[in-house]
Point group: D2
Chain length 351, copies 4
């Protein structure tokens, strides 16, 4: 598949992760978009749903049933969780040659008990759940290269995992004392018409939600516990902030004896020194969510708190990019054997 | 002074706390605005600086030197910190009958060493520093009634003190484990023309600032330590969020043995059950900053975290109202013997 | 009814004009809120729908059928157009003593043909349509005082009518050359959950809508034509701007011979010199929508264009206040014989 | 210069048009950035000024005097107007081989009297003023290819010229009746720290400015008059809208006899049918500024007004892209003989 183009389908192309995939893939030199689905909008042109694509040539929106799977090499699945697991099971039965990058939550939890506990029903594709690789590229790169099914992680979790997991693994922090105060832009909630997401209900104010019980905790628990070798349940509070894009996680940590903020910074700077999409700022510098808007970058800052054993780590990503579609394309590049940064070179749009 | 009107001066009337005082005092039935200062804009009409006041009759902006102190009963001082202490010292020397509500940070710290440490220079009015009463009304109401000089507290600190101090005093939480993740609207930074406060630098993104060293920590330390009877230094991180008004504090606490979220909620609900400006929501409900915008209310929510000894308390105020000018008028009402809620009855402007 | 309180019902209390009425009426000294309806949310507390009202005592939401009309003196009708006409017809049949201020579009057009043409169905309460008084207070004050049914005008139309009608009547402009480019905040679209009103679809961008055919044109045509004595059809384009409140109308006019901007300004300054809620700025000054946010004021500016016979008039209101609920309370005050400004004294909330 | 890279300097790299040029040029395959100036920030790294560029290798900021002109092939000049003309004069004297794309207003007006009238002082590089080519690519492509100095047009003017000039040239409209109501995002005002551009002064409201006398009128007059063959002075009112990027021009036109909206649409659709960066929507469709954010596209819509001889044309661009830096790179591509769309393929960032 040297210079040929992979044939790509997107299931659920009328949402925001779908449109972000289109934005990226239309400019990716090694892919061809062959199928786009949106069940409720089937028959419409993409430009009817997202007029910014009007100048470009794209297939019409169809239903999932109408996809010609034999002509598809890789599919991005951007459907709601719960329904995704059966859809993907069917895809593999119909077309075992297809690779899948799934942006839903359906295959992120390796433990089926955890899935049932957080999502309220038994998983309906248990074998695939076991097979799926959790797609935080910087932690699972080698597994992803060999994967048939990549479970693209959540935006909150990617943003928190990137700094915290290497610190747990290095023994630099006390894993029982992790407080993650996370703030999200509104695209994180998707494109569904809900009263609480109206402009007038979101602008000029902010609030926490899912306090004490947001589902992304399940992913945090899984990855933090795996890194620590014992069960952890960090404090995690998500907030909705009046901005379109961006996850901003302020993370309060206790350092191990004699580590301090310098030690924490050293671990992260070393861990990410060759990574193209993770930028660890100099010690004491604080990132802004704007620095990553529209790009696939994560920016991480490390700052001393007042007590010598306390450190504040701040991590920020664009929830539609490194937090969703950007990481999904990064995963696709690995699965297809392409250079990892291909099609993801855009620089943040700030201002 | 039964039905007569107190004669009011505002020093620093061209900033946002100044305009908010004007908005409130123009509709307060027992005051008359007799002097407004703005050194750099002296000679201009208020309507040149804040055109929304054009339909109302107000004195011209003058310099501080031009104020006729004998005709003033009470002055609001909305000047930058550092310069305020000498100004107020002079006011008292010139006109000992005048009462002062100071919105700067100059008289908030009772300990002169703490002042010097946080503000980098010795205090220049030490006796007044000792005399000043810290103006969180709900905690110091009786002292304020008798005060000549009220130090109106900071917006972050008011928002955090209201829920946390009663909990420390009740022994309901472990005071060594307090993490305050606070978010502020942009008016908190005042009206000075700085590049980092431009619309284009603030909108559509967010960031922490003053991490590990914001000056409002000094007030938190003072009040939390006083409540606990020992020195505390809580974690506190302020953030700038793209909204005009609002402080939103997400506070991570550890409860004392056998207390739990229910116990925390009970302490707060009891403590504030008769307070007109503090509303404790039912257990498990989460406030939004919009619920208090433009009003003098604080809304407090208490939510269980996943571990039985962890609780998340959320407190929100309008930084220009309960966090500054609203509380200043509340203090004025006490100092002048007026009903505490007079002129502060406005309901939040949402949407 | 000297110092007694009028008993008020609000039909459709769960929308934005409803909540704005609550905000105003809770602080109005001469009214008592006795009934609030919201058909789909009947049984809920107001605080469930608008938590900012939690600290206040208010009746529960009920259905329209549950209203005890004998205990109601005046009703605000904030229901969708089309359904309103029958509801009000029934109210008058059930309780002829009740006065009505209707915030829908149902009774704004005096011509039943015009109604049918713009709304696509025959009017179902033709007699009431004839009886209703169009509630632009500054133009129809005397009629409103005697009215039983006031048709509260649209936000766009109020904002445009205030400057344009007196100019047409004075013969100061050529009524065939009127271009109104109007911009609205998002509350103008109400609280219904529609995809195109999501934060993510509205923020950080703008667009025109209803180009060449917005229904508020019908009111403009009616009032402009009445003033001119002949049929007019001005150009009018509404736009949606990412702000919560505010109508901002930029109006391009041709002046009559020898009038010029000075003449236009003189007509408006004279016409409104005693009006409490209309502020005509000095010639050449330009209003901002912020100057009226949260207040019942209209601000009007007059500026010369480059050609001597061209003038640009700019008018701005808060669409929920002077453009809806504020004007509705102003109308109520007239109908009930109260001072016209009672309960409407709030000053704009800026910043 | 087949596959070699042109060596590029940017004068004034610390402003928003500067950062936008960096965003584009860092990903342009045929350029190398060799010099960046910012007089007041000389000595700093670009990442100190725009941290989003921290992950990339870029030259330090220097003063204009420090530029090694012999190593520069083309310079973008993003300096304030007034100072630019002498700077460029000096560049040409020092290094005649250098090509210039100037983003200031200094060389946009061909008539030196017009320049002096609008800018208040005589032009100081009159010969260059005559030599400069006005850089609306779609109108002056052939001249630009041969130019040494391109005067990149203003954002408002580009947005208005694109639809209006072809219509004037085709005789489809009456050029005496042009009303342009234009709205701009805040980046159009640049990065200077001014009180009226603070977040708190811009968000949640809007206003007109420069009414009757904005300098972009000079460019409109020039290009419209040239197209019409006689002197025109259209009505043009700019507004500041709370969004970062975007120009949105609502243009009220009178059509020539028998033309109508259909005729207007046909002229524009034909004129732009092969243009990569101008998209004329189907008749009756209305663009949104979001559809072009972050891209170099202009979207144009044509809608019938109520009278048969009136038409409303709406044109929108991203003021930093097609309105400034994007068009500047498009001009650079022409000057250097590169494919016109090179480095400008990004699709709009919406949401």
């Amino acid at each position: 598949m040297t210079d040929s183009k992979a044939r790509i389908a997107i299931l659920g192309a009328s949402g925001y992760t779908g449109s972000e995939l289109l934005r990226l893939l239309l400019r990716h030199p090694r892919v061809e978009i062959v199928a786009l689905t949106a069940d409720r909008k089937a028959g419409q042109a993409v430009a009817d749903v997202f007029p910014q694509f009007a100048p470009f040539s794209l297939p019409k929106l169809i239903t999932i049933e109408q996809v010609a799977w034999k002509d598809v090499d890789l599919v991005f699945c951007a459907l709601p969780h719960g329904t995704t697991q059966l859809v993907i099971k069917n895809v593999f039965e119909t077309a075992p040659h297809v690779k899948v990058v799934d942006l839903s939550a359906d295959f992120r939890l390796r433990d089926d008990g955890a899935y049932e506990r957080w999502y309220g029903h038994p998983h309906q594709a248990l074998e695939l759940q076991q097979e799926a690789v959790y797609g935080v590229v910087e932690l699972y790169r080698d597994d992803i290269r060999k994967a048939r099914l990549v479970a693209n992680p959540g935006c909150y979790t990617t943003t928190a995992i990137l700094p915290v997991v290497p610190l747990i693994e290095a023994g630099a922090i006390e894993p029982e004392h992790i407080v993650i105060d996370a703030k999200s832009g509104v695209t994180g909630a998707g494109r569904s018409a809900k009263e609480n997401l109206l402009f007038t209900e979101v602008t000029e104010g902010m609030h926490a939600y899912g306090v004490g019980g947001h589902r992304h905790m399940a992913e945090l628990d899984q990855e933090f516990s795996k890194a620590a070798g014992r069960t952890l349940s960090p404090s995690f509070t998500p907030h909705l902030v009046p901005m379109t894009r961006g996850i901003y996680a302020t993370i309060y940590l206790k350092t191990g004896a004699g580590v301090g903020a310098e030690g924490v910074h050293r671990v992260l700077a070393d861990f990410y020194k060759s990574e193209p999409f993770v930028h660890v700022m100099p010690l004491g510098q604080v990132p802004q969510s704007r620095f990553v808007k529209g790009s696939n970058m994560a920016f991480i800052g490390v700052v001393k708190d007042r007590a010598p054993d306390r450190v504040i780590v701040i991590s920020t990503t664009d929830n539609l990019m490194k937090g969703a579609s950007g990481q999904a394309v990064q995963n696709m590049n690995l699965v297809l054997g392409y250079p990892e940064t291909m099609g993801l070179e855009q620089i943040a749009l700030f201002p």
